[in-house]
Amino acid sequence: MVLLSIVAGLWIATKRIDYTWRWERIPQYFAYHSEDVKTINFDGHVTKIDKKGDLTTVTVKNDIGGETSSFVIDTKTANISVDEYLMEGDTVGSTREWKAGPLAHGLWVTLWISAVASVIGLVIGVITGLCRVSQNLTLRQLSITYIEIIRGTPLLVQLFIFYFFLGTVLNIGRLPSGIGALGIFAGAYVAEIIRAGIQSIPKGQMEAARSLGMNVPQAMVYIILPQAFKRTLPPLAGQFISLIKDSSLVSVIAITDLTKSGREVITSTFAVFEIWFVVAFLYLILTFTLSQVVAWVERRLAVSD
């Protein structure tokens, strides 16, 4: 009821500013039917036309060299006949196929940037989290410094530093610097989550493992971390959902992710409202899928409760 009235209110408001909704123009930016025109690059005669259902194979013989080439085209576009003379640059026919539009491409880029950055973030986070609880003072101080620096500066600024400073000095491209900045950013938060998880496991677990003769790494790997992981799954899921959303910032260093694709489509359609709604919805699909997957893993791990 509340939602309905909000939607109705917004609808009336947009009516009053004379906005023309053009939802029908959106789908073509997901996928479109592209035509691939096949042209010939020599003068020659058509020697054979072989129709097989929707596809037709046309064989053309070169007048000068005598060698033949064949072209596969859609039957519908085949309006040439055997022995017809074709000059260089003439069209033999064409094929049509579905191609991903900018929005689909942007979605894909966002998905894999987030996925790679998550893996990097998790690896850095687990290592830093372990250093954070280690007995070694140097490791502990290093991890605290890293966490404080990353948590204390805006991601946007980190992206610029990564891209303009590190990217130039170390000569790395925009994609690696974007992914690296996201991964290192997430790592600091994951580290604190992992540390909290490790510290929430009762001391007795480590003592029991050690009393059985396991060394510290064994106890960590087989006893503490699996339990800590289970406990930290909800905050970790939140962190990775944040990461997917934060990945929209990489558009400022000209990575064509979902947000940047959306902006590009707007420049050619002026369908500002529609595109941003669609982009928001696509982010929602990604994050919702992730939270469902995590909920499923949580249920799986709950068997031992």
Binding site: S211, L212, S304
Partner: protein, 244 residues
């Protein structure tokens, strides 16, 4: 088997010095069942934890089979593999099934094959009387069953000594018996055991020797008959009057 010489463990908590274990010298022979009793805060548990290196020693020595735990070069993990420990809070691994609890350390520390470890694990579950629970998780077991699994887990490593840290204190009264029964059986089989407990009946029945501790010091030491019937020290007499 176990020799402690002038064993000392001092905790410093907010500038307060606590002498949890204060110069204990004793010798526990192979096959002997030693029960450590004393009022709470007397350092019994800390003493026990020193015996397998869960606490670092402040001073003194613990020799287990001739290996000195105070020596920095001693491989603690090797020592601990030979010294089984049972905790008050069971400390089973909650994310692993009962059988996995028994198998894990056998495979990782003793380097046994999974098959070998499972055979050993099942035999021990049989011994502690819960073979049907091998596929359950610890949370699905009663306290008494969990503690019996914990004993089986320690035994799976074929330890030379078993340490029990108040194994029945966290149990409901009706489950104390089943755990004590398993411990009595172990004692009959000749296992060397050091038991910290408040179960005076168990001490009287099973112990070869009783150590009475107070304020980190070994106050009285002797056979159960001597300790329960004619204690010499005033502190021990007072304690016994309160608990019996």
């Amino acid at each position: 088997m176990i020799k402690t010489v002038d064993l000392e463990k001092i905790f410093v908590v907010r500038d307060q010095v606590v002498r949890a274990v204060d110069g204990i010298t004793t010798h526990i022979k192979s096959g002997e069942v030693v029960v450590v009793i004393g009022p709470s805060g007397s350092g019994k548990s800390t003493y026990l934890r020193c015996l397998n290196g869960l606490e670092t020693l402040t001073a003194g020595h613990v020799h287990i089979d001739g290996v000195d735990l105070a020596n920095r070069k001693t491989d603690m993990n090797k020592v601990r593999a030979e010294v089984g420990m049972v905790f008050q809070q069971f400390n089973l691994f909650p994310h692993k099934t009962v059988l996995e609890n028994l198998v894990l350390a056998q495979m990782k520390v003793r380097k046994r094959s999974r098959k070998e470890a499972e055979i050993k694990g099942r035999a021990l579950l049989e011994k502690v009387g819960i073979p049907e629970k091998e596929a359950n998780y610890p949370s699905q077991l009663s306290g008494g069953q969990q503690q019996r699994v914990a004993i089986a887990r320690a035994l799976a490593m074929d330890p030379k000594v078993m340490l029990f840290d108040e194994p029945t204190s966290a149990l409901d009264p009706e489950m104390v018996g089943e755990v004590l029964e398993v411990m009595k059986q172990l004692a009959r089989e000749g296992m060397t055991m050091v038991v910290v407990t408040h179960e005076m009946g168990f001490a009287r029945e099973v112990a070869d020797r009783v150590l009475f501790m107070d304020y980190g010091k070994l106050v009285e030491e002797g056979t159960p008959e001597h300790f329960f019937d004619e204690p010499k020290e005033e502190r021990a007499k007072l304690f016994l009057r309160q608990v019996l």
